[in-house]
């Protein structure tokens, strides 16, 4: 097994053994979505109107809670140094970490989101678009989260800090994803929105690991 795949396999195995970590992130996602009908009242039209934004904003917030899994524990127990000395370039190490993070956070959210959308009365035309925006958007969230998590290794209040620095950078993803779902609900074309999301993903795949690798280099120094 190549070192790149070995890092992914290691993180997946750890995630499976410490399953409550993932479950808590997903539970947060579900609970916060459920708060909106309770706060706004159960009017179906209103919920359908806000469903795309609620689902995406909540998914972003839930993801913020999961980033400390990426490097914080490895940094505290000495595992990060071992990973850095594995011979794998730090940028590829960051990419492997991002892939494992997406498989354990982005992918389960992708599965959960349509179910939650039912509870928010999302327009029936918009389900596939919701899934498509999450499929293109959540990998970007994982990639940016890797950059943020690498930057805050060893910082005080790292969990809040990572949200503060990553959320503004994810605003474009939020805008294009939500407007795509809204367009689909209104029966308009969604191609342009998805192309923008795809372009952001395509640019993030090489650039975010480079930045995260540089950040890890500084974290080890």
């Amino acid at each position: 097994m190549s070192p790149f795949l070995a890092v992914i396999a290691r993180d997946l195995r750890l995630a499976r053994r410490q399953g409550t970590d993932i479950a808590m992130t997903l539970a947060f996602f579900v609970v916060v979505v459920a708060l909106f009908p309770l706060g706004l009242g159960p009017t179906p039209e209103l919920l359908a109107r806000i469903a795309p934004a609620v689902l995406w904003v909540t998914a972003l917030l839930a993801a913020m809670l999961s980033f400390d899994r990426l490097f914080q524990q490895d940094s505290e127990d000495g595992g990060l140094e071992q990973l850095a000395l594995s011979g794998l370039p730090l940028s590829l190490l960051a990419l492997a970490k991002a892939v494992a993070h997406w498989l354990t956070t982005g992918l389960p959210m992708l599965v959960l989101a349509p179910l939650l959308a039912v509870s928010l009365n999302l327009a029936s035309d918009a389900y596939w678009t919701l899934v498509a925006t999450l499929a293109l958007g959540t990998p970007v969230v994982s990639l940016f989260g890797t950059v943020g998590a690498a930057l805050v290794v060893g910082a005080r209040r790292a969990g809040v800090l990572v949200a503060l620095i990553v959320l503004p950078l994810l605003i474009p993803v939020l805008i294009f994803a939500v407007s795509a779902i809204e367009a689909a609900s209104a029966g308009l074309t969604i191609r342009v929105h998805l192309l923008f999301l795809g372009a952001i993903l395509a640019a993030s795949i090489p650039l975010a690991p480079l930045a995260a690798g540089a950040a890890l280099r500084q974290a080890l120094d």
Binding site: M1, S2, P3, A6, V7, A9, R10, R13, L14, R17, Q18, E76, D77, G78, G79, E81, Q82, L83, A84, L85, S86, G87, L88, P89, L220, D221
Partner: protein, 225 residues
């Protein structure tokens, strides 16, 4: 003994200067280590023993000076340099949720060094076979240290960098470690150990106190008053 891969070579560090958090640690430090040789880093707390190990591992870039392997700067190919090193940090790098054996295996396979037979020998040497299926979270501090050492012993890397390897170890485990070091050196391996106790690295070992190489200026190049 485990075959060493890649082959041992000559490690040199010349005129290294390091500052940590704006604090000058040491300056003008040089060292040289050939196949089969051992070096002990000694000196008081805060003298920079761990820092020397981190510089040699390329985890930390010095302000001045360079580390070379057979004359080539290690920074030219960091990945190749990583593959020469088995590093034991002051933390054990164990995950509580994995067993002792899984811990050693996952880290070794990340480095592309997972070798079942070598790991068996290392677990035998450090008397870990009975513990190998227990979660690392259940082990004592000394037992955890032995698992971390087993990972180094089983790695087959030519250069061992050991940061206070004896912390938490009982007398029997210290002599097991000394046997492992002797075997590694006999196979041509190299060892640099930061330790403040009398760990026997074998015949012909050298000692270096990084604290003796102090800065004469601050990091801005101005005189310290």
């Amino acid at each position: 003994m485990t075959e060493l891969s890649p082959a041992p070579g000559r490690l040199t560090a010349t005129d290294i200067a390091v500052a940590r958090g704006g604090r000058p640690v040491f300056a003008g430090l040089s060292l040289s280590l050939g196949p089969g040789e051992a070096l002990r880093l000694a000196g008081p707390n805060g003298g920079g023993k761990s820092t020397v190990l981190r510089v040699i591992a390329d985890l930390l870039t010095p302000l001045k000076g360079a580390v070379r392997w057979n004359g080539t700067a290690t920074s030219e190919d960091p990945s190749a340099h990583s593959r020469r090193i088995a590093y034991l940090g002051h933390a054990d790098a164990l995950k509580s949720a994995l067993t002792a054996r899984e811990n050693a295996e996952t880290m070794l396979s990340v480095a592309g060094r997972n070798n079942g037979a070598a790991l068996d020998r290392a677990f035998d040497l450090l008397d870990l076979q009975r513990l190998s299926d227990l979660p690392a979270g259940w082990l004592s501090a000394g037992q955890r240290r032995r698992v971390a050492l087993a990972r180094v012993v089983a790695s087959g890397a030519p250069l061992w960098l050991l940061d206070e390897p004896t912390v938490g170890l009982d007398a029997a485990s210290v002599s097991a470690l000394e046997r492992a070091i002797a075997g590694h050196r006999a196979a041509g391996g190299m060892v640099i150990a930061a330790t403040h106790i009398a760990l026997d690295l074998g015949p012909g070992d050298a000692t270096l106190d990084p604290g003796a190489f102090s800065w004469t200026t601050d990091v801005f190049g101005e005189a310290l008053v």
